[in-house]
C-alpha cells in the first residue's frame, strides 16, 4: 500500500515532463523484459535458425557445402530405410503407450481422490515416485531385470510360466514391449498428479448432483468428471506426444536401439548421425526439423480435436 502512496506524487509531478505514467510503466516493463528476451533470442531462436541453415548443407565433419538441391537432406530422409524404421518405432510407442498411460493415470487419480481412502499420501507418493528416478538409472535397472539371466526370467521360470529364459531385449517385439512397459512405469504417476490437481478444482456438488440423479459411479466418472478434466487431458496428451516423439533415453540405455535398429527411436538415430558415426550434422539438423514439425502438427491436431471452447 505504502508503495503506491509514494509513487503517486512522483508521477503527478512529472519531473522531466516527457512521459506519462503509463508510458513510464510500459518502459520499465520493457527494460525488465529485455534481458530475458535477449537471452531467449540468443540461446533459443538463434540456434534454431542456425540449425535450419545447417540442414541445407551436406558434408562430413567440418567440410560442409550447400546441398544440391537445397532440400537434399529432407529428400534423403525419404530414402533412408533406417529413418523410416525409427519413425515407425516411435509411432508404435506413441500409439500404444500414450493412451494406456493416460487412461491408467486417469483411473488412478480418480481412485486416489476418493475421500474415504486410507493411506492416501502414501499411495500418491508411491505412484509419483518413479518419475523422480533418473532416466538413466531406471533404464539400467530395467535392463538388468530383463536380462536373459535377470529377475523377470527367474520369476517367470519359478512360477512355471515359461520353460526357458526369454531373450527380452534381443527380439524386436519383446524389446519394444520392455520400452513401453518402462515408459508406463516411469510416467503414469507424473500424469496422475496433473489429474489429481485438476480433480481438486471440480466442484463436489456436480458429482453429488449426479449421484442424487441416480448415476452409478461409472456414469459419474465418465459423464461428469471426465468432461470437466478435458483441458487437463488435452495438456497431458500434448505433453506425452511431445515427449514420446523425442524419446531418447530408453532407446539408448535400455536396448541400444537393437536388435538391428528394431527398437531405435528418431532422437536416438539423430544422436547416432550427429555424434557416433561420421558426423553428418546437416542431415542430423534436417532430421531434428522433421521431429519438430511432427510434434507441432500433432499438437495442433490435438488442440483442434480436443479443445471445443470458443
Amino acid at each position: 500500500m505504502s508503495a503506491t502512496v509514494v509513487d503517486e506524487p512522483t508521477a503527478t509531478k512529472r519531473p522531466r515532463g516527457s512521459m506519462s505514467p503509463s508510458q513510464r510503466r510500459n518502459l520499465t516493463g520493457w527494460v525488465f523484459l529485455i534481458p530475458a528476451a535477449a537471452l531467449i533470442a540468443i540461446m533459443s531462436f538463434w540456434p534454431m535458425i542456425q540449425a535450419f541453415i545447417l540442414s541445407l548443407q551436406t558434408g562430413r565433419g567440418s567440410n560442409l557445402d550447400w546441398a544440391e538441391p537445397l532440400w537434399y537432406n529432407y529428400q534423403r530422409l525419404f530414402q533412408d530405410e533406417i529413418f523410416k524404421l525409427t519413425l515407425s518405432n516411435t509411432f508404435i510407442y506413441l500409439i500404444i503407450q500414450v493412451p494406456i498411460m493416460l487412461i491408467l493415470a486417469l483411473v488412478l487419480a480418480n481412485l486416489l481422490n476418493n475421500p474415504n481412502l486410507r493411506w492416501k499420501a502414501f499411495w500418491r507418493t508411491a505412484i509419483f515416485l518413479p518419475c523422480a528416478v533418473s532416466l538413466v538409472s531406471y533404464s539400467l535397472v530395467f535392463r538388468t531385470m530383463f536380462a536373459t539371466d535377470g529377475f523377470v526370467n527367474d520369476a517367470l521360470m519359478w512360477l512355471h510360466l515359461i520353460d526357458s529364459p526369454i531373450n527380452w531385449l534381443g527380439q524386436a517385439g519383446t524389446a519394444r514391449f520392455v520400452i513401453i512397459l518402462g515408459l508406463i512405469w516411469r510416467w503414469t504417476g507424473y500424469n496422475m498428479v496433473f489429474y489429481l490437481a485438476a480433480l481438486q478444482n471440480i466442484d463436489a456438488s456436480s458429482v453429488e448432483a449426479a449421484k442424487v440423479d441416480g448415476a452409478n459411479s461409472w456414469q459419474t466418472f465418465w459423464f461428469v468428471t471426465v468432461p470437466q478434466l478435458k483441458p487437463m487431458i488435452l495438456l497431458t496428451a500434448i505433453m506425452s506426444t511431445n515427449g514420446t516423439l523425442q524419446l531418447f533415453d530408453e532407446s539408448f540405455n535400455l536396448t541400444r536401439g537393437g536388435p538391428a535398429y528394431q527398437s531405435m527411436t528418431m532422437s536416438h538415430y539423430l544422436y547416432e548421425i550427429s555424434f557416433q558415426r561420421n558426423p553428418n550434422v546437416g542431415y542430423g539438423s534436417a532430421l531434428s526439423y522433421v521431429i519438430l514439425i511432427l510434434v507441432a502438427v500433432l499438437a495442433l491436431i490435438q488442440m483442434k480435436v480436443g479443445d471445443k471452447r470458443d
Binding site: V31, I42, S62, E81, D149, G258, P259, A260, Q276, N278
Partner: protein, 434 residues
C-alpha cells in the same frame, strides 16, 4: 535516488545477461590446453584409471627423471564422451579447448583425422621410430602415408581357454593352437557334449567376432579405394557363415549385454573366449579360477586366401592435438611409450598393458610365468602374436559398416538368407556414404 536505483537495476540486469551469454558461449578458460611453451605441463585426456591413466602416470614419472619440472595434468574422459567432445570442438572450431595429448580408439582414427584435418598433428617429424611398431597396429592411425597416432594398447586377439573344462573333454590348449574354425567347431561340439559347456559367448548384435575373423585374413569391409565391399566379399561371407554355424550348433551362445558376456566368463558358463588381449583383465577378476586358464592364438578361416591365426580387436593410440605443445609432447611420447622398457616393465604386471612397442617384448617382465594362466608366460606369447597380425583397412566409415554388418548378422541368425542380408547392409553403408 529513484533514477539511480533504476540505473543500478538495469546495469545489473545487463551484467547478468552478459555473464549468462558468456557461459553459453563456451567456458574456454578451464580445461584448455596449457597454451604450449614454457610451463612444462601437458594436459592429457584418457579414460581408464586402472589402465591407460595409470600408464600415463607411470610415464610421467619416467620422464621426470630427466626433466624435473615436467608435469602432466591428466583428465579422465570416458571414450564415448571423448569422441563427442572431439566432434563438438571440431565442429565449433574451438581448437584451443583441446588437450595436448589424448588417447583415441584405433577404429576411430581414420574417421576423425579425415573428417577434421585440423584435429590431430602428424607425428612424421616427431623423431619417433615407427619401424619399432608392428604394421597391423600402425595402419589404424596412418592416413595417406602419414602417421598420426602412437600405438599404445594392443588389441591383439587371443583365444583364452579353461584348461580344466578342456581336460574333462580330453583336450589341451595345444589342440586349439594353430587350428581352423571348422576344427574349432568340431572340437567345440565335442566339448559341449561332454561337459555341457559351450565354447564361446558373445554379445548379440555385435560383430566383433566377425571383424576379428576378417582381420585375421587381412580383409575388411572396404576396398583400397574406400568403397564398401560387404557383398562380393568371400572372406566376409565365410566369416558370417562360420559364425552362424557356431551359433546353430550351440557352440557359441549369444547374450544381450557386455555385463552378461563378462558374466559367462567369470561364472564358468563357457569354456573359452576369443577377444583382444585386454579381456585378460576381466577374466582375472575371477580369482577362484586362478591356474585354470590357458591362452593361445585364434582359429583361422577355412578356404580363405591369406587366412592366418592372428588378429586384433580394438586397441588405442596416443595422439597429439593440433594445438598441443608439439615439441614437448612428442619428446615425452618418444622417451616413454616409444623408448622406455622401464615404463613397460611397470605397467605390464600392474595394469596388463601389453606393449605395441616391439622392443618392450624383450623385457624380462614379459617372460615371467603368470600364475593365473597356469604358469604360462602369456605376455611374451601375445607380443609375438602381435607382430604377425595382418593389417587391414578400417576406413572412414568403419563404424557405419560394422553396425550394418551387425544388423545383418542379427537377421541372418534369425533366419534371413546370407546374401539378402549382406546386400541390405551394403546398401545401408552406401546410403550413409552419399
Amino acid at each position: 535516488m529513484k533514477n539511480t536505483r533504476k540505473l543500478t537495476a538495469l546495469v545489473s540486469a545487463g551484467i547478468l545477461a552478459l555473464s549468462l551469454t558468456a557461459c553459453g558461449g563456451g567456458n574456454s578458460s578451464d580445461g584448455a590446453s596449457s597454451e604450449g611453451g614454457g610451463d612444462n605441463t601437458l594436459t592429457v585426456w584418457t579414460w581408464d584409471p586402472a589402465f591407460n591413466i595409470f600408464a600415463m602416470q607411470e610415464a610421467e614419472k619416467v620422464y621426470q627423471q630427466d626433466h624435473a619440472d615436467f608435469k602432466l595434468d591428466i583428465v579422465e574422459v570416458p571414450w564415448d564422451d571423448l569422441q563427442t567432445k572431439l566432434t563438438t570442438i571440431a565442429q565449433a572450431q574451438s581448437w584451443d579447448e583441446l588437450p595436448d595429448i589424448f588417447l583415441m580408439q584405433n577404429n576411430a582414427f581414420q574417421k576423425n583425422v579425415q573428417n577434421y584435418p585440423d584435429l590431430v598433428a602428424s607425428l612424421d617429424d616427431s623423431g619417433i621410430d615407427f619401424s619399432e611398431f608392428p604394421d597391423g597396429v600402425k595402419a589404424y592411425s596412418n592416413v595417406d602415408g602419414s602417421q598420426y597416432g602412437l600405438p599404445f594398447d594392443a588389441g591383439t586377439a587371443v583365444t583364452a581357454l579353461r584348461t580344466d573344462v578342456l581336460e574333462e573333454a580330453g583336450y589341451t590348449v595345444d589342440d586349439f593352437t594353430d587350428i581352423t574354425w571348422s576344427d574349432f567347431l568340431t572340437k567345440g561340439k565335442d566339448v559341449l557334449e561332454k561337459t555341457g559347456k559351450p565354447m564361446l559367448s558373445g554379445q548379440a548384435g555385435s560383430s566383433d567376432t566377425i571383424m576379428m575373423m576378417l582381420q585375421s585374413a587381412g580383409a575388411s569391409l572396404f576396398d583400397a579405394e574406400g568403397n564398401p565391399t560387404i557383398t562380393d566379399n568371400a572372406t566376409l561371407k565365410a566369416a558370417v557363415e562360420q559364425y552362424k554355424e557356431l551359433v546353430d550348433a550351440g557352440v557359441m551362445v549369444e547374450v544381450n549385454s557386455w555385463d552378461e558376456y563378462i558374466g559367462t566368463l567369470t561364472n564358468s558358463t563357457v569354456a573359452s573366449t576369443v577377444n583382444g588381449i585386454w579381456i585378460v583383465g576381466s577374466i582375472q577378476t575371477a580369482e577362484d579360477q586362478s591356474g585354470k586358464w590357458g591362452l593361445t592364438n585364434v582359429p583361422a578361416l577355412d578356404g580363405v586366401s591369406g587366412a592366418t591365426n592372428y588378429s586384433a580387436n580394438g586397441g588405442s593410440s596416443w595422439a597429439i592435438s593440433s594445438t598441443g605443445d608439439f615439441d614437448l609432447a612428442s619428446d615425452f611420447l618418444k622417451s616413454t611409450f616409444a623408448g622406455s622398457t622401464e615404463l613397460y616393465d611397470t605397467i605390464l604386471p600392474e595394469a596388463g598393458a601389453v606393449a605395441n612397442w616391439i622392443l618392450a617384448g624383450d623385457s624380462d617382465v614379459y617372460a615371467e610365468p603368470q600364475e593365473f594362466w597356469g604358469g604360462q608366460a602369456i605376455y611374451k606369447d601375445v607380443v609375438e602374436f602381435g607382430t604377425k597380425v595382418p593389417s587391414n583397412n578400417t576406413g572412414v566409415y568403419y563404424y557405419e559398416a560394422r553396425d550394418a554388418v551387425s544388423a545383418a548378422l542379427t537377421k541372418i541368425i534369425g533366419g534371413t538368407d546370407v546374401d539378402t542380408a549382406l546386400a541390405e547392409a551394403q546398401s545401408t553403408v552406401e546410403f550413409a556414404m552419399q
